[in-house]
């Protein structure tokens, strides 16, 4: 049997693409490491609590989320019972803090209630998931078009469609300029509110000084700071997961206002 992390990742890979599964387990590990030593009951509890919390954000479909959680729970119980003689119960999760995810900052949008209390509301046509490969400069306008089109289908206002497309333009250009290209995955978000998520992934050098780049005083000759900060200001949620030498993964979300 592999480590808890590997096992969890395998479970998650049944529901997400491999890089996203990796990003989620990575984020959960960071939080778990803050709670205790690896293998410690506190550590495991924190890990599973964080995984559960992240799933609630990243797996909006309730039936799939339930399925995924059930599998993780089985895994959690078996790991805890085999390693610690079944004495350690899963502890209640620590107070969820979105900004603990990755190195980036998250600006959390004001929570809004669905139009009807039951959560049942008229659905616009589903847009599903769309991927765009960025390999060349001509792919950037293309990616913007896709973003704008999806945003329009989801019911974004013209201003928000434009904002989404502009942020995609900035981040796609950064990927091309600093990492030689990458992938963008667009997905419809249903919870906590309806919206559009764009996930940017590259295998470039990563951002060594993220805080510096996000600092308003930072000016790169090529303008990465402007693009990154500007996109962050536009987004309702913005996560940057980057390590020097390990590429950059940016998740940005905008909700339908």
């Amino acid at each position: 049997m592999g480590s808890i992390l590997e096992e969890s990742r395998t479970v998650l890979e049944g529901f997400f693409s491999a890089p996203i599964a990796k990003a989620i387990t990575g984020a959960a590990t960071k939080r778990a490491n803050a709670a205790g030593q690896e293998g410690d009951p506190n550590w495991s509890a924190a890990l599973f609590a964080e995984l559960t919390r992240l799933l609630a954000v990243y797996l909006p479909d309730p039936s799939r989320r339930g399925d995924c959680m059930a599998r993780l729970e089985v895994l959690g119980q078996s790991v805890i019972s085999t390693r610690f003689g079944g004495s350690a119960a899963l502890r209640p999760p620590p107070v969820p803090r979105l900004d603990s995810f990755g190195m980036g900052e998250v600006r959390k949008a004001e929570p809004r209630r669905a139009s009807s209390p039951s959560g049942e509301r008229p659905r616009a046509p589903k847009v599903g998931t769309t991927s765009v490969v960025v390999r060349d400069e001509v792919d950037i306008p293309n990616a913007c078009e896709v973003a704008k089109d999806l945003a329009r289908k989801l019911g974004f206002s013209l201003v928000d469609q434009t904002k989404m497309a502009t942020a995609v333009s900035e981040l796609a250009r950064n990927m091309l300029q600093y990492a030689g290209g990458g992938n963008i995955r667009f997905a419809e978000v249903l919870a906590p509110r309806r919206g559009l998520e764009a996930f940017f992934e590259d295998n470039g050098p990563g951002i060594a000084d993220l805080e510096g780049v996000l600092d308003p005083k930072y000016r790169s000759t090529t303008g990465m700071g402007m693009g990154l900060r500007g996109s962050k200001r536009i987004a309702d949620e913005f996560l940057i997961d980057t390590q020097p030498g390990d590429g950059t993964r940016i998740t940005m979300r905008k909700y339908v206002a």
Partner: protein
Amino acid sequence: MTPQVRVPVIKLRDVLLVPMREHIDDRAMMRLVEEVGERISTDRARGVIIDVSGVDVLDSFMTRAIRDLALSARLMGAITYLTGLQAAVAMTLVEMGLDVPGVRTTLNLDRALAELERDTKRRGIADSELEELLVKN
């Protein structure tokens, strides 16, 4: 794949009109900046009007390119106007903290032409003042 977009540069009396119609790619934008620079000197233009009414995405690269275009045009004695900025684009620029310093903006092409006419008259005076200054120093 998006076809390569080429933006026309139209000479209209002593003004160069640049109607940008869609979100052009970076290479096309750089080509455009170069071309406008060359055309200002070959066509002896006093003004450049960049019409962006057909552009629905202006990002930091594009605004920087427009700024560079305007600054180099100014060094060659031409005033640059940006006209027809869509409301959604303007609001996005503001929220992103982007700006196009050194570029005058007008609501539409008509106003750009009117202002340009006024400004070139006024600049005629400014130019002579400048020459005086240069002679003095």
